[in-house]
Every structure is written in C-alpha cells, then in structure tokens.
C-alpha cells in the first residue's frame, strides 16, 4: 500500500494525432489535457502525441479499435476500410466550405455515434481540417484543364476523382510533393490550402485552384469504449466537463474556418495566384464526380446508402 499522504499514480491516457506540434488541433488538444489535469487535481493526465509520433496515420484507427490507445483521432482521409460508411460528407464536391460541412456534420452526430458504438468506440467530439484544394504549376480553371494533367493524389477517392476528370493520378509521398512540384514531376497536387505557407509550396506551385474537392476534411475524437468504462465515473465527468469548458468542438471548427480564410488572404501576398473556377465548371465537375460517389456506394452497401441519404438531407438537397 502507498505510504500515507502519497499521491496515487495518476491515470495516464494517450491521444495520438496526425497534426503537427504547432497546428491548431494539437494546440486545442493540449488545452484539453491541461484542463483535465487541472480539474482532476493531477489524478488524470492526457498525453498528446502529435505529428504521428506514436502511430503512423494509417495505424491510428486500428490502435484505438484495439484499445492500444485510450483516445484517438479518426481522420476522414484515412478511412480506407473500417468505418468507411461514416464518410459521405467527404465525397468529392459534396460540400463547398467549412461552414457547410460543419452544419451537416453536427446534424449527423447521432449517426456517427451509432456507427462508432458498433465498433466499440465512443464518439466524444466532431472536428475538421481545412478544405482540400489543388496546387498546380499551370492554372486549372475548367474541367477541360484537368485533362492529361499528372496530379498527386492521397487516397482511393482522390485518385478516382482525378481519373474521372481526365487527369492521371500519381501516388507521391507527402514529403516528396515539394520536389515533385518544383521539378514538374507532377503538374499538381491535392492537399490542404493551408500547407502553402508552412511547407513553402508557394515557392514551387504558382496556382492554387479552389475546386473545393472537399469543403473540409473531418476528424472525430473518439475513446475506446472499454477504456472509457474502466475510467472512474468522476474522471469521466471531468473529461466531458473539460471538453465543454475549453469549448473544444466549437473552437476546432472556428480554427479550421479561420485557417482556410487566412490561407486564402495570404496566398496573393506570397506571390500565388488564386484560381476560382467558374460555378458552372464546378457544377460540371460535380456531375462527373458522381462516378466516384457510385464507387463509394458500391463499397459501403446499405450502410453507405443510408449515410448518403442522411448527408444529403442534412445539406438540404
């Protein structure tokens, strides 16, 4: 037994995330951890592991499913298999802004909770990354401009959309994108607009084409249900209260939206040209992109069909 007056060992939970150490997600998760520590009087500690330092991105979901990590962030971009059906909002051209994404995502909360629960996960909070756009060395203004372009993609969905629009998808590690753009190995790369400044993409790709492939990319904060159940009741409340007091969910969406706006304002200052394709071109692309939706529906079956209906309803379409 511990000597009288000694502190018992604190409960330590781990939260791995893909976000860089200074990125807003990490900042917000750190604030949550600090709040939990404060409210529990040091009885509970949440260790944040940013920049995929604990698990590589693709291994994160299996880790929280298995309970190897108590908390986890589930990224829409890495939904290649398990839980694929929770990503209807991530389908290409489904939403056109962070705001629109948020509106629909929060309405889908019961659906998300239910799907996560079936996998033994407890949904805590719904977050977002900024919108997905295309950096390019030549402007891509119209659907015709896509034709024959070599475009770096990051997953099956982005590969499908590139192919459907007549481009040639190329699989290049995110770390090699800068060089690939600089040396024109590829004509463009799909990724978040907010990468332009920190990764210095503006130096090697002069155009940022705002096609809004996705208005935002979602991230769900989940806990392993077994780990949650093993947590003393009062600590459970402390975690939930800390989330409320740090205003976590609201702040996440606000930060994503701010980051998007800031990037857009900053790009011309960095010497980049912002390309806004005409509405009818985006509409045209959206129609073509239905092919990618069909592929997704085939893979997700009845669950996907229901999810898509819910998503469209939430978007008022």
């Amino acid at each position: 037994p511990p000597p009288a007056g000694a502190q018992p060992r604190p409960v330590v939970w781990n939260l791995p995330t893909v976000a860089a150490p200074s990125y807003f997600h990490t900042v917000n998760y750190n604030a949550l951890a600090a709040k939990v520590k404060e409210k529990s009087g040091g009885r509970m500690e949440i260790r944040i592991h940013p920049a995929s330092s604990l698990y590589p991105s693709a291994e994160l979901l299996p880790a929280v499913l298995d309970g190897r990590t108590e908390l986890g962030t589930v990224l829409a971009s890495y939904l290649t298999d398990v839980l694929l059906e929770i990503g209807p909002l991530e389908l290409p051209f489904m939403t056109g802004s962070v705001g629109e994404h948020k509106k629909a995502a929060l309405q889908l909360r019961p659906f998300y909770s239910e799907r996560f629960a079936r996998r033994g996960l407890r949904l805590l909070s719904i977050h977002a990354w900024p919108s997905q756009q295309i950096f390019s060395t030549v402007p891509i203004r119209s659907v015709a401009d896509w034709k024959g372009k070599k475009i770096r993609v990051y997953g099956a969905d982005s590969a499908n959309i590139a192919r459907l629009l007549g481009a040639a998808p190329v699989n290049i590690n995110f770390g090699e994108v800068y060089s690939a753009l600089e040396k024109r190995t590829v004509d463009g790369a799909m990724t978040s607009a907010t990468n332009a400044e920190p990764m210095k993409f503006f130096e090697v790709a002069k155009y940022l084409d705002y096609w809004y492939l996705a208005g935002a990319a979602m991230e769900w904060l989940v806990a392993n249900q077994k780990a949650w159940d093993a947590l003393p009741k009062d600590l459970q409340h402390i975690v939930l209260d800390a989330m409320k007091e740090t205003n976590l969910e609201e702040k996440e969406w606000q930060d994503a939206s701010d980051a998007d706006e800031r990037a857009r304002k900053r790009l011309p200052e960095l010497g980049m040209t912002v390309v806004d394709p005409p509405k009818e071109e985006i509409e045209k692309a959206r129609k073509i992109a239905q092919g990618a939706w069909d592929i997704w529906l085939q893979r997700t079956g009845a669950d996907g069909k229901r999810a898509l209906e819910l998503a469209l309803k939430a978007l008022g379409r």
Partner: protein
C-alpha cells in the same frame, strides 16, 4: 516502479543483453517488449508490435535501401565497379590516403542521389572495401572513412530524415535540402582533411601501390574504364534533377541501369545476380529488423513520457542560450550513443521542436542540427547502423577498430555542430538566396 525508473531499468537491461552477445535487433526488441508488458499487459500491450512491424516494413521511405545495395551488388559482382576503383586509384595516387579520400568523396557524390546513409555506406562500401583491403589499407582507416563518409547520405540532399523532419514540423523540405548542401560539403572536406593528415602521420595505414602509379597516358586510359559507371551516375542524377523521377524512383532506375550495363558488357550472369541478391538481402534484413525492433522500444519511451521529462529538465535549468544548446546537445549525444536515433527522433521531435523554436532557434537550422545528430548516432557504438553495415562487409572487424576508427569523425561532426551554432548562416544562407521565387 515509477515510469522513469522503468526507462532506466530497460536501458540497463539493453546493455546487458548487448554484452551477452544477443543479436542487436533482438536485444532492442526484448527490452521494448518487456516495457510494453509492464505498461499495458499482454493483450493490449503487444498489439503495437504488429502495427510497428507492418508500417515500417512496408514504408515507401525505406525502399531505396535494398535498391541501391542491389545496384552496387550488380556493379561489384559483374566486375564493372572494379574498373571504377582502378581508375580512381590512379587519379588520387598522389594524395596520402588517396583511396580513403576517394571513398569519402564517392560517398558525398552518391549522397546527392541517395537519401539514406545506410544505403550510401553499403553502396560505396561494397565496392570500395575490397579494393582498399587489397591495397593493404589499415582496417580502422577503411572502416572510419566508409562508415562516416556514408553518413553524408542524409546531410546532402535528398534526405529521408529531412523529409520526416519537414513533414512532422511543417518546415519546408526544399529549404532543408538547400540548407544541407554547404554543411555537407564542409563535412566531406573535414573528413578528407582528417584522412590526409592521418595518412601523413601514419603512412603504413595507407600504403601506395605501384600499380596505381602511372603516367598521364594510363590516367587518360582509365577515364575510359570509368565511363560506364560515370554515365550511370549522370543518368540517375540527371533524371532526378530534371524531375523525371523522384529520389526513390532514382534508386530503381540506378538498379535498372546497372543491370543494363552489366548485360551490355556480357557480364550479367546468374551468379552475378545471385550474389547481388545476397548482398541486398543481408544489409536490408539486418538493418530493417533493427529499425523495426528499435521502434518498439521508442514507442515505450514515448508512452512513459520520458522525452518531456528529460527536455523539461534541460529547459528548467534557466541557462543562457549557448549553454542551453550545449546542454541539450550533450543529452542528445548520450542518446546517440545508446539508441537507434531515427525512431527516437520521431518520438522526441514533437516535444523538442516547440521548445527549441520557442527559444528563437531557426526551424531549418535546427533541422540540420538534427540531421547531424542522426549522423553521429549512425557511427557511435553500440547501436550505429552504419557501423553494422560496414561490419557486415568486413567480417572480423574488432570493436577496437570500430571505436578508434570512427571516434575522430564524431569529434569532427560535433565541431561542425558548434560551428553551425556560431555561424548559422553556413546552413541558412543558401536556402535564403536560392529558394525559388
């Protein structure tokens, strides 16, 4: 047992296992696994092993390692690589320790193709070692020049660790690449200078062989012998800088070119292929098993929150800027001796980076410091991947050869770190002035 005590016990146990002669990879894996069992138990704790093994083994960043070793294996076993060295030996015969100097510059040139130090050391070592051994070079000189020369692979762009650093910290990889060039050249010159000095002081360590002397005619004729391999390097390097291929693809292209070259000289036999296979597999399997099992241990270090405690300690001292940096690097140096650093870097960067940049250090500059630290780790015993790579190519090397052979280079690298602290522009000037506008 407290978490920090657990960390200490595991590191201690690791050294015991090394001393007992357990395979390095397995020793690392055993302590990592014990840590997992202690922290999380069998069912939950060990699940991560599968995850780590899979993600490392299937990682695209490591593919260049087998490919470059394969390329070198084909060049060596087809006999084409020998011509290269005969020629180089002729041209550098005037220089004391000429072949070791040539090895270092070969590494520097190859570093411009390869993003991995292990690949650089293995590729150049495979061809250079037999030639240096044949000419009676001292083992410690051979060992040091190749193990240390190989580390240039990650300082001179392209560089896999720079990519990892850039992605993890959101630092421009292009700027990191540019920042590595000047320190890379300086380091190569420092290494070469050391070798020349050593050979002047101990001429027996680098004997001059009659066959390498020769008139201008011999030298000119030797250019012809170099031509095929030089062409190969130009093609691979050129295709990379022209943007036709990415660095990883350059490795494959280099292998293809070496196969075509061997075929053109009618030297592509089944035996050549089989020997090249064997060289490839041995280096790759050994190195990757160490990287994978070391990652398990690093995972444990991350779970117990050791980096935060350790670096918090250094920050808490309230030292002036230079002393803080010196203390920090001293801690890193200890880690460099004890552990496999690439997996450690992934664990410590998220904690270290905000701390260091918060104190006003430049992110790109610190990236170069990290790379130099990794380089030191690659040639410091007991766990230094480049040491193992060269050891495998030179069976019978003693621990004494290894330690004495590489320590001078460690000193030179630490000196470069100090130099970079005093003159950060050494790294930062080039990216500032060449970044595309």
């Amino acid at each position: 047992m407290s978490e920090s005590a657990l960390g200490g016990v595991l590191v201690g146990l690791m050294f015991v296992l090394f001393a007992a002669g357990v395979e390095v990879s397995i020793a690392l894996g055993v302590v990592g696994m014990l840590g997992l069992l202690w922290l999380k138990g069998f069912t939950i704790g060990l699940g991560v092993v599968g995850s780590i093994a899979w993600s490392n083994a299937s990682s695209f960043s490591f593919i260049a390692v087998p490919l470059f070793v394969f390329m070198s294996g084909i060049l060596l076993h087809s006999g084409i690589g020998k011509g290269l060295y005969t020629a180089v030996a002729r041209w550098v015969s005037f220089l004391p320790g000429g072949l070791a100097v040539a090895s270092i510059f070969s590494c520097a040139i190859f570093a411009a193709i390869s993003g991995s130090s292990v690949a650089t050391a293995a590729t150049i070592g495979l061809i250079a070692i037999p030639e240096m051994e044949r000419r009676g070079y001292a083992r410690r000189l051979i060992f040091g020049s190749l193990a240390a020369g190989g580390t240039l692979g990650i300082l001179i762009p392209p560089s896999i660790p720079m990519i990892i650093y850039g992605v993890m910290t959101e630092t421009s990889i292009g700027h990191l690449y540019a920042a590595g060039i000047v320190p890379g050249v300086v380091l190569a010159l420092l290494f070469a200078g050391f070798v020349v000095g050593y050979a002047v002081l101990w001429p027996d360590a680098a004997p001059r062989v009659a066959e390498d002397r020769g008139g201008l005619l011999d030298k000119l004729r030797s250019i012809y012998e170099v031509a095929p391999v030089a062409l190969l390097i130009v093609v691979v390097l050129g295709s990379m800088y022209a943007g036709i291929v990415t660095p990883t693809e350059a490795a494959a292209l280099g292998s293809l070119a070496s196969l075509l070259l061997a075929a053109a000289f009618r030297r592509l036999t089944w035996r050549t292929l089989r020997d090249a296979f064997q060289a490839t597999i041995r280096t790759t399997s050994m190195v990757m098993l160490i990287i994978i099992f070391a990652s398990i241990f690093s995972h444990v270090i991350a779970l117990i929150g050791a980096p935060k405690a350790l670096f918090g300690l250094v920050t808490g001292l309230g030292l002036p800027r230079w002393a803080f940096f010196a203390a920090l690097f001293a801690v890193l140096l200890v880690i460099a001796y004890a552990l496999e650093e690439l997996s450690v870097m992934i664990i410590i960067l998220p904690i270290l980076f905000p701390l260091v940049t918060g104190l006003g250090f430049e992110p790109v500059w610190f990236g170069i410091i990290m790379v130099l630290w990794l380089e030191i780790g690659l040639i410091t015993p007991p766990v230094g991947l480049n040491l193992f790579v060269i050891q495998n190519l030179m069976p019978g090397t003693t621990a004494r050869d290894v330690t004495l052979g590489t320590t001078p280079y460690v000193v030179l690298m630490v000196a470069l770190v100090a130099l970079l602290f005093v003159f950060p522009e050494l790294a930062l000037w080039l990216p500032r002035h060449t970044a595309p506008r």
